[in-house]
Every structure is written in C-alpha cells, then in structure tokens.
C-alpha cells in the first residue's frame, strides 16, 4: 500500500509540474496596448531559418517579448491548431492548410500571403550528372526524389512536371527529407524549394522554367485562440514589413 501511495503522489506531482510549465509564463493582459510577453508562432518547416532570424529581430524591436516557434509540416500544424493548440500566429507553406484553419474559424483578421517559393532541382555539389532541366530527370540513370503529393512541395512538383514522364524512386514526406536524400547521395536530384536548396551548402540548385507554373504561396494569420493577441498582431505586421521581407528574400523566397 505505502509504495503505491507514494507512487500516486509522485505521479500527481509530475502532472502538476507539467501543467505549471505552461501556466507559469506571465500571461499577457489582453486589451493592453504594449506588445510584450511570449508570442507562440506555428510556422512551416521551410521557414525555419528565416523565421528564427525574424524572431530575434522582433524581440529586439519589441523588448519584453519572447518568440517561441513550433516548426513542422503545415498540415500537422493546422491539425494542432484546430485541435486547440495555444498558438498566436500561423505561417503556412500552402494556402490549403491555412484554409483549413480559417474554415474552422480559428484565424483572426484574415490571412495574408507574405512570400512565394519556387521549386528548383537540387543536385549534388558540382552537378556531377550535368542536369540542366526537368527533362534530364526522365533519364533512366538519374535517380529522383520527389515529395509525396499530399505535402505542398509534392503538389507543386506534380503541377510543374505536368505530362513529363519522371519516375521517382521515392515520394518523401517533406521537402527536407527529399533534400537530405540528395545530400546523402542516395538520389541524383530532387525537386525542392529554392529556399531549401539555398540553405544547404552541400547542394546546388538548378532553376527550371516549368516551376513558374507551380509557385507556392505562404500565407500568415493571427489566431483567434492565441493568448497574446497584441503580440500576434505585432509579429504578423513585422513579417509583412520591409525588415521582415528583407530577411525572407535573403533566404531565397520571392516577394508575393
């Protein structure tokens, strides 16, 4: 009996502690004008580098704020938000996932497209297979990784490829996985976003004209159920500002 009771107490303590972890943060007072306190941003994985920089800049511009990111696949983030995750801002890599959140009535003030991203062919450094365009990916000795159709980069790739007969060896679950297959040398080429190719020193990016038909738009929105409304508004504004855009363009995104 005794050790069990002890266990129960310990369990209760752990649960209480875990619960405190979220509650202990100083809660921002809604209605207060000053932008302060924690801002929780759910952002698409492809925004990782650029948003990390923007987050630091934002904190400098608004002393007293603390930006916390949750980077993941846009659809996973959309699901989490609709299931009640306490996020202040959602930046999606595809309008479709933003639409899901908007349809559920969870955005506030509508979503705005803040950047566009375009596909490139990622190849190993130095382009050993001499790939110059999409047609080269149809060659039998070229191993290609694409994203699965279910994720934005896969949908974009499908649109860009059109009727061309390209048989990939794998349909990756996200763009970073597709890119890492190129980095590891397991495939010769992958269709990834320009920003992803740019972020990796191990790969070269080959631009191809067909990608113009499959440009990916990134929408951002403040969220209704977020605990820090003022912070959310300020962060969205910052991303849309010149300072924010400069960071994004430097990372390889295009202005909308």
């Amino acid at each position: 009996m005794k050790p069990l009771r002890l266990m129960a107490v310990a369990l209760a303590a752990v649960l209480a502690f875990a619960a405190c972890g979220t509650k202990d943060d100083p809660a921002p007072q809604s209605g207060e004008k000053g932008v302060t306190g924690p801002v929780t941003v759910f952002a698409a994985a492809s925004l990782t580098e650029a948003f990390t920089t923007i987050g630091a800049d934002f904190e400098k511009a608004h002393p007293g704020t603390k930006v916390t990111f949750n980077f993941a696949g846009s659809s996973a983030l959309a699901t989490q938000i609709n299931e009640g995750a306490p996020a202040d801002v959602f930046a999606s890599a595809a309008p479709k996932n933003m639409q899901t959140v908007t349809d559920a009535g969870n955005t506030k003030g509508g979503a705005k497209v803040f950047v566009k991203n375009q596909l490139v062919i990622a190849v190993a450094k130095g382009n050993p297979k001499g790939i110059t365009g999409l047609a080269d990916l149809a060659k039998p000795d070229v191993k290609v990784a694409l994203c699965a159709e279910q994720v934005p980069c896969g949908a974009a790739a499908k649109k860009a490829i059109g009727d061309l007969k390209i048989t990939p060896v794998t349909l990756e679950q996200d763009v970073k996985s597709a890119l890492s297959k190129v980095k590891l040398g397991e495939v010769d080429a992958a269709l990834v976003y320009r920003t992803d190719a740019k972020s990796s020193p191990d790969v070269d990016a080959v631009e191809f004209p067909e990608s113009a038909s499959a440009i990916n738009e990134y929408p951002i929105a403040a969220l209704k159920n977020g605990p820090n409304a003022a912070g959310a508004g300020a962060f969205v504004a910052y991303v849309l500002s010149e300072a924010g855009r400069a960071v994004l363009l430097k990372a390889g995104f295009q202005a909308p």
């Binding site: 996973a76 994720v151 679950q173 996985s177």
Partner: protein, 253 residues
C-alpha cells in the same frame, strides 16, 4: 485494491487513444475507403515486409541471443548494450545510419553497388532491412531472457546422450525456450509492422514498393485525417487478429 487503481488507470491510458480512433472513424465511408487498391497494397506490403523482417531477426537474432546468454567473452556487456542501441536510437536516426552503411555511398552499400549492382535504399529489401534493424532488439532481448531462465542442465543431459553442440541447440535448447522465441518473434513482428521512421528514411516512400501502412497513414494525415484513421484502424485490426491467432497457437500451447 491498492494495485487495482493504478492498474485500471494504466489500462485506460493505453486504451483511450484507441477509443479516440474508433469514435472519430468515418464508419459510413469505411467500406469504400478500405476497398481502394492503394490501401490493400500498403497493407499487404506491410504484412509481407514485417514477416520477412521477423524471419531475418530470427535467423540472426536467436544465435546472437545465444551468444549473449551462454558464451563468456570479454566485452559481453558492451555487446549487449550495442544490441539495444536501436531501442533508444530515434528510428529516423537509425534510417540515416543505415543509409550511411548500406546507402549508395555507404560503407558497404558502395561496394554492394559496384560489385553486384545491388542497391538497398528505395527497395522492398530496404524496407525489410530497416524494419529488422529496429525490431531485432525486441527478439534478442526476449530470447536472451528465455535462454538465461532455461535450465542448462538439460543441455548437459543431451550432451551425455551423445548430442553435440548444434544438435543440443536445435533439439533441446530451442524447444526449451520456444515460448520465449515465440514471444520475441511476436514482439519483433509487431514492432516491424508499425515501423515508420527508419523505413521512410532508409527505404523512402513509394506506393507498392516501399510504402508500408505507417507511411501511408502518415501521408494521409497530411491531407485527410479521416483516411489516416481508417488506415490506422485497419492496421490495428490486422495486427491484433494475427497476434491473437499466433498467441493461441504458439505461446499458450
């Protein structure tokens, strides 16, 4: 009573997520969704690869368990710790590690490719390899435990009757630890069936060739949560049915 409360709490903790799946399942469209050939492809691939992976684990893992349980050699503790590495390694990392060894530019993969033209990534064999890598510790640990618990005097009795080491192992030791091997095999199979991270990293995702059920479930989640629930429930139903049938046949019998 003191044990009952946490026991029931533990049961609830394990069962409630399952209840969630069942409650949220789109029962009305279920038959149509299940009839899709892509679903059956993924299921069949999963069952096939998990079974092959279990076979690989049995062939390699049982002797390894024997070595750990019976042989006395320097560094045995280290070897045992190494065996459990796939248990603690995030499966995705396991997949990357497999790529570094068996990949096109891997330590062994490069040689396999140049010497025999064999490439494992993005093939069904690669799925089996990834699943076996992740599931093997379950088998080895179960069988090693059974071997340690087994009375070695039976092996001595066999020796006095003229049985050499190999005959003793196959005719006496293995039947003696058969329940442990069966339990380990079942665990191993179940783990292989649910394997996701190492598989998608090492073998990629291609329908009919490397897209197993967990991969299909993951990708379905990107677009259609209900489809993912259907696939999960199907995987669950098939695995529970097979495990229950095996259990009746081997473990208790």
């Amino acid at each position: 009573m003191g044990l009952l409360v946490p026991a029931l709490a533990g049961l609830l903790f394990l069962v409630l997520p399952l209840v969630g799946l069942v409650v949220r399942a789109p029962w009305s469209t279920m038959p149509a969704r299940l009839a899709e050939p892509a679903v059956l492809d993924a299921l069949w691939l999963s069952v096939r690869t998990a079974t092959m992976a279990t076979a690989v684990c049995l062939v390699l893992g049982v002797p390894l368990a024997w070595l750990l349980a019976r042989a006395d050699f320097p560094g045995r503790r280290v070897v045992r710790a190494l065996v459990t590495v796939p248990l603690v390694l995030p499966p995705v990392v396991g997949g990357v590690a497999l790529l570094l060894v068996f990949g096109r530019r891997g330590l062994i993969g490069e040689w396999l490719d140049s010497a025999f033209g064999i490439t494992l990534p993005f093939t069904t064999a690669g799925v089996v390899l990834a699943e076996a890598f992740v599931a093997m510790p379950f088998l080895v640990i179960a069988v090693e435990g059974a071997l340690r618990g087994a009375d070695t005097r039976y092996e001595e009795a066999a020796a006095t009757l003229g049985a050499g080491r190999w005959t003793t192992f196959t005719r006496v030791t293995l039947p003696l630890v058969a329940p442990g091997v069966a339990a380990g095999g079942v665990l191993c199979w179940a783990r292989a069936l649910g394997e996701f991270g190492a598989t998608i990293t090492f073998a990629g995702n291609f329908p009919g060739r490397t897209q197993t059920m967990p991969l299909a479930v993951y990708l379905a989640l990107e677009t259609d949560v209900q489809a993912a629930i259907v696939l999960s429930l199907l995987l669950l139903a098939v695995s529970v049915t097979i495990l229950a049938a095996l259990r009746d046949k081997w473990v208790s019998g």
